[in-house]
Symmetry: C2
Subunit: 239 residues, 2 copies
DNA sequence: TATCTTTATTAAGTCATACATAATAATTTA
DNA sequence: TAAATTATTATGTATGACTTAATAAAGATA
């Protein structure tokens, strides 16, 4: 593998910090060389020498790549390319306590948008077994008298299954990341109006539509199912 | 500010790397102390002494926080808390050339889902001026004879405006991040079947609905508008 | 010979120290 | 008093040494 042109490229770069340059060059390099997952990259000391910078800088740059999920490094073996994990870092900052209120609210909205919009994906991928499982989940729906936590768990089981059906791993990961935030916003005083306890389209109703309906019907039903959330959203801020 | 309990907490932690522990402890600390944006955190040497680790480790941990957008550090002034940028790191790895094909396709789907699902947000926030601007954008729609790039630009202008109307900055950022990937997938051979050039609901049609219709109508219209994309998606993989 | 165990090697992880750089504060000078 | 100069300070970078764990090599045992 030829890393010799790297230094020139780097010196051509501009104002930003040294680590920034090295990082950018490494990223560029990896994609230029079309390195596949599993391929090894030179060791830190070699890179340091090649780029004419200290090992400290190389390490900081590689740390960033590691955070992006672009590489993994192990002792003795060195670093190898991996398929980047889009949500790795993001999920760390996805913490209700360190995000500002506006962002929290926007994330709340994000989930609603996703669940309404994914109707077509669901209908395209759904199988007989999926429907059976959904029915099974619905049948375990907790009574109104039961503890709050049971309801949350049930919500997660049902809606999580929907994401699973889409077959879209990225979306599923995204949802898993959103969950705690959603729950936090739901229970915090962030959204003014308490949810009316009126019942809209139920989980069972949604499953019926999945079995016999169409994406259009499902979208509207899901919108209705989420009405309480929307109501709180639109009640707590002027457009 | 009292950072003295930090060391004990840290020593209670387990197997992971030293930097991992320090990172976790710093994050935990910042949220426990409810530090506000702009508040300064102790300097590297102080933290190093307090935690009983080298400055190297502190620096690596802080570098991670910086990547998450949780802190910003400037020379002499030290580091201060910032509101985390959820997409900062993500957008770096959102590179068509380093993502695997499955993920690329999933991101493609992601956009479609969002644009169908965000109907309610649009209707809630939209103003007279927004509609005027949309009409202005539509009026500049390039002819079929014009260059491919004009069409792309027009697409971005129109759909970007829709995201803007939602008032959801998070979603807007997300979309900006998705754009290059979407374009890449659209033009690459990733999706088998070339788009049929049949015309479905046009941009103008969508604007009409925004003016006189309802979220339900808009969702269905948008679904139809995106039909070419869906067709390619569903043609290139078995469910 | 084949397999298990021990030892050596290697590259990342951690540490300590020194110096460079740039932003701020303090001081001098006009 | 205000501008210009100098000192200070915290991060940024460099260097060399040491630690640790994974791998490879060598050796022992069957």
């Amino acid at each position: 593998m030829d890393f010799t042109t790297l230094r020139d490229d780097m010196e051509a770069a501009d104002t930003s910090s040294l680590v920034d340059k090295v990082e950018a060059n490494l990223v560029r390099l990896l994609q230029e060389r079309k390195l596949k997952v599993g391929d090894a990259i030179p060791k830190e000391t070699e890179l340091a020498e090649l780029l004419g910078v200290s090992r400290t800088v190389i390490r900081e740059a590689m740390l960033r790549l590691r955070m992006m999920g672009m590489i993994e490094s192990k002792k003795k073996k060195g670093a190898v390319i991996t398929s980047p994990d889009l949500f790795g870092v993001m999920s760390k900052s996805m913490n209700p306590h360190i995000l500002d209120q506006d962002t929290l609210k926007e994330i709340f909205e994000f989930r609603l948008v996703l669940e309404i919009g994914m109707a077509d994906l669901i209908f395209y991928h759904i199988t007989r077994e999926d429907i059976e499982e959904l029915k099974r989940i619905v049948s375990k729906e907790p009574q109104a008298t039961q503890h709050h936590l049971f309801h949350i768990e049930h919500e997660i089981a049902f809606h999580g299954k929907l994401y699973e059906i889409t077959g879209n791993e990225t979306m599923k990961k995204f949802q898993r990341m959103l969950l705690p935030v959603f729950d936090y916003v739901h229970n915090s005083g962030l959204l003014k109006k308490p949810p009316s306890l009126k019942k809209f389209v139920s989980h069972k109703g949604l499953v019926d539509i999945l079995e016999n309906g169409s994406p259009e019907l499902f979208r509207n039903a899901m919108r209705n199912h989420l009405e309480n959330h929307f109501a709180r959203l639109f009640a707590s801020s002027e457009p």
